[in-house]
Point group: C2
């Protein structure tokens, strides 16, 4: 498989079906196993290890293919760092209902499992109930925000240039306070998310968005450093309308060696398209 | 097994090891399978189906036993309603590290899988980093709050008396606005949580706490009704100090047939002990 040095997101998360072992009720029934070949592409990494959202997106692509439905709620537990290279995703159907289906996925590279995923796929029936107690973050216009690829490599000492070349993330100026050495003291970050070359963002893309910005905790004033994700859950709330997404991430509790980061992702139509929460270990440095 | 009509939480979530199939590296290694016998006890239900947090707690008890560690992050996907009766929990080790271990669990009753769970167990190294941007909910003293068992059966038309006899939940007066027919319009609820007879609350108990109050969305003014949980994630942030817990739950987005509910649980020492988020389908009525 080509190394995908300049592959877009769809190509960099592509999966190829190897085989299917039917469950008791056929290829879509509980117990069926779909095996996919995939590749962790070079360039979607932080310091040589693939971004956690990107790895979740590869698994999510395979799960969505096996279930024939887009993700609704997906949880990944991270088991090992993810270097570039070929991998295999095994998707096992847990339950296939009329509208929603649940499955697990295991992504294995060279005999080592990198991530285990559990998710429910499909689209709920919209009975029209609506209650919204939140709004998109206030951001300067896309072109006035700061391209992360311009500032991060020097300021933060971490080689994020690879990943940031694949993305067209633009940060709120306050969100990069940790780079200047004068952190706001608030563990919050926000900005615009887009793929390079205006590639459309589908539901699978939302799995990456949830982990694409610098950790919010970096702006808290606590020491920055590697923040290993234990678990990342993404709820897909709607399919995004075209255009860059507005994102906000916040950490409220750092204690006992762990922290959570909650994210909200909004589309150009002002609609909440995803919520995320991850549990991570506190920065090692 | 006795029906456990008056069993406390520990007894009602007890698991008994049936057998262990070792993984490649022994009983604690990846691929090992622990099978447990358990029972969904009568009386922990809403209208005949066991509370989702209670079912998650049974699975979590088995997972913690297999891993020899308390839960850190646990996600359950609900597959079918859970009537009382004997069940079996199969725990498969995904990864067993020095400090953290990841496993899956499947809870099956009469050949039907009721819940699939993925979790990481263990306690992070506390490197002393601390940042807290939140505080426990303001609640009247425990004895001045409203015992849910007194009001719910008549007001809401749902037979929650069974579950509420097992718990000593006391609600903030505002949290039961839906019962009076004059909802606050805010999808929030809060109150005190304790088990009946002051039974201590361990980390497994926190899995139940996360789902033990009436849905916050009931106070929004939207029609109340059955709110089926698709997915529930609980992050255990600390082992609770003795005494009742202060809990707050909030729904911010109801749209597209789904809603999230975020919970925070605080102990008597003023420490955040759990965060929860669930994705549920909007009330059917």
């Amino acid at each position: 498989m080509a190394s995908g040095k300049h592959a877009g997101f769809a190509a960099a998360t592509a999966v190829e079906l190897l085989d299917v072992a039917d469950g008791a009720g056929g290829p879509a029934s509980a117990g069926s196993v779909h095996r996919y070949r995939a590749e962790i592409h070079d360039g979607w990494d932080i310091g040589g290890n693939a971004n956690g959202g990107y790895v979740l997106a590869i698994a999510g692509r395979a799960m969505a293919a096996a279930m024939g439905r887009p993700p609704l709620s997906v949880t990944g537990h991270y088991l090992a760092p993810s270097p570039p290279g070929a991998c295999e995703v095994t998707v096992t159907t847990v339950r296939s209902g009329g509208r929603l289906g649940t499955c697990t996925a295991s992504l294995v590279q060279d005999g080592r499992e990198l991530i285990r995923v559990l998710g429910t796929f499909g689209t709920p029936v919209d009975n029209g109930h609506r209650y919204v107690a939140g709004e998109p973050p206030e951001l300067p216009p896309y072109r006035e925000c700061v391209a992360r690829s311009e500032v991060a490599p020097t300021g933060e000492g971490m080689p994020v240039a690879g990943l940031m070349d694949r993305l067209a993330v633009r940060m709120h100026p306050d969100a990069l306070s940790f780079v200047t050495g004068a952190p706001t003291g608030r563990a919050e970050t926000s900005g615009w998310f887009a793929f390079a070359q205006e590639e459309p963002i589908d539901e699978i893309g939302l799995l990456l968005v949830a982990d694409a910005m610098a950790p919010a905790v970096f702006n808290s004033g606590l020491p920055a450093g590697w923040v290993p994700t234990v678990e990342l859950t993404v709820h897909v709330r709607a399919r995004p309308a075209p255009g860059p997404l507005r994102c906000t991430f916040r950490t409220r509790f750092v204690a006992g060696g762990a922290l959570e980061e909650d994210g909200e992702v909004w589309d150009s139509a002002g609609q909440l398209v995803a919520q995320s929460r991850q549990l991570a270990l506190t920065p090692r440095h």
